[in-house]
């Protein structure tokens, strides 16, 4: 029981330096919908992106702001969420490097339908929608690959709907931990550490529950030896048992 509760995060405090033009080419090539581009084509596309650094907690954009950019994460994590009128936050997703977000409304103008917050310090590339439209027109393969990514996002959202309507809070939280460990987990002395700064409230807002309920579930998991957890961090000790929680 006397488990370590101090944070095991090494808090990299990503500097602006890391968010440089050099990184851009390297990372953009890893984005799924640019993978088909040849190097010279990619170089031309990269020029249209600009890089920005955001610190933990920074708002990247706010829901209902006019949407002008498509963004790609080079480093760090971004939380997409909707603030509701009733004051509850709904976390739609937490994105890892290589993911895109922002707007794809290339025809006419639009507003963002969700807010984006830097979950950790991060480096983000942005491209104006007009420029991006030109890219799509020039390289149809990018459009097609992007359609796939877009379908995949829809699929993930529908999975979320399914879980919300059919599964208990405990199972939803187990699923979220599994998903996040896949995206952000790092192997560490026999377990998978989530380096994300990640509070009970974040977890609750992802699972569609309350911080108290999330806390109770996490306590149970910890007592059962499935996870180790403390303030803003989680380490999964027994991933198989966590998987078995989602079933049954």
């Amino acid at each position: 029981m006397g488990s370590r509760k101090t944070t095991p995060l090494n808090n990299p405090t990503l500097e602006n330096l890391h968010c440089s033009i050099e990184l851009k080419t390297e990372k953009l090539g890893m984005v799924p919908f640019f993978q088909d581009l040849k190097q010279p084509e990619l170089d031309k596309v990269v020029e249209k992106f600009s890089a920005n650094h955001f610190s933990e907690g920074d708002e990247i954009y706010y829901q209902e702001d006019p949407a002008h950019y498509l963004r790609v994460i080079v480093e760090g994590a971004v939380k997409l969420l909707r603030y509701t009128d009733e004051g509850k936050d709904v976390v739609l997703d937490i994105l890892n490097p290589g993911s895109y977000f922002g707007s794809l409304k290339l025809l006419g103008s639009d507003v963002y339908t969700e807010s984006a917050v830097a979950q950790s310090g991060c480096c983000i590339l942005s491209i104006g929608l007009k420029d991006f439209k030109e890219v799509l027109q020039e390289y149809p393969a990018v459009s097609i690959a992007l359609l796939e990514s877009s379908s995949e996002k829809l699929r993930a959202s529908q999975e979320q709907v399914k879980q919300l309507t059919t599964q208990s809070v405990e199972k939803r939280i187990a699923n979220i931990l599994l998903t996040l460990s896949g995206k952000f987990g790092e192997e560490k002395d026999g377990g998978t550490l989530l380096q994300l700064p990640f509070s009970r409230k974040d977890l609750a807002d992802m699972a569609g529950t309350t911080t108290e309920s999330a806390s109770r579930v996490m306590s149970t998991f910890q007592k059962e030896g499935i996870i180790e957890t403390g303030r803003q961090w989680v380490a999964i000790q027994d991933i198989e048992r966590l998987r078995s929680v989602t079933k049954s």
Copy 2:
């Protein structure tokens, strides 16, 4: 109270005749992502589609079947749903004419992630994914318009997530009735009639609740004079009051 409970549906029993090649061109031109095509281009695209009729309750495809087609509704309504292991059905959407569904996985192969059932008799156009890929490569404008549609679907799914996590069953049902009346409603003696065959179970599966709860909410709405309802049909009498239910 002695309200009519007999069905006001005129049960059109859409015949196969109606699902003809003539209709195809006319209707495909109305699909959002083909709207930019000129008539000769559209004609060429139309040729690649084939038309099929489905009767109410027919399964159009089943989740996890290999996905080979993209489909467009010409007439009728299609229910997209996921059957869960626990035996609960989750209705993701009910689509109206002009909507597309099926798969957009143009690279590599894939399986359907949801099932599709004809909610009413309907006429569906299908195009093989290889053919559709060629269309996209030839007409980049279609890709771009399709990306918009795809984003819109994601937005709708995220809205569903938001509602499931923050709103009561009563509000979710009110919202569903409003959405459906927008898609399928027909003006009829001072109210909006939903011609859809649409059971309490369908409603419950859309709202993520039980038939009993859905029935209770519908009874309340009826007692309050907001709707008229019977077996498989709903007429919205006081849309303003229904809207006010979703707020507050």
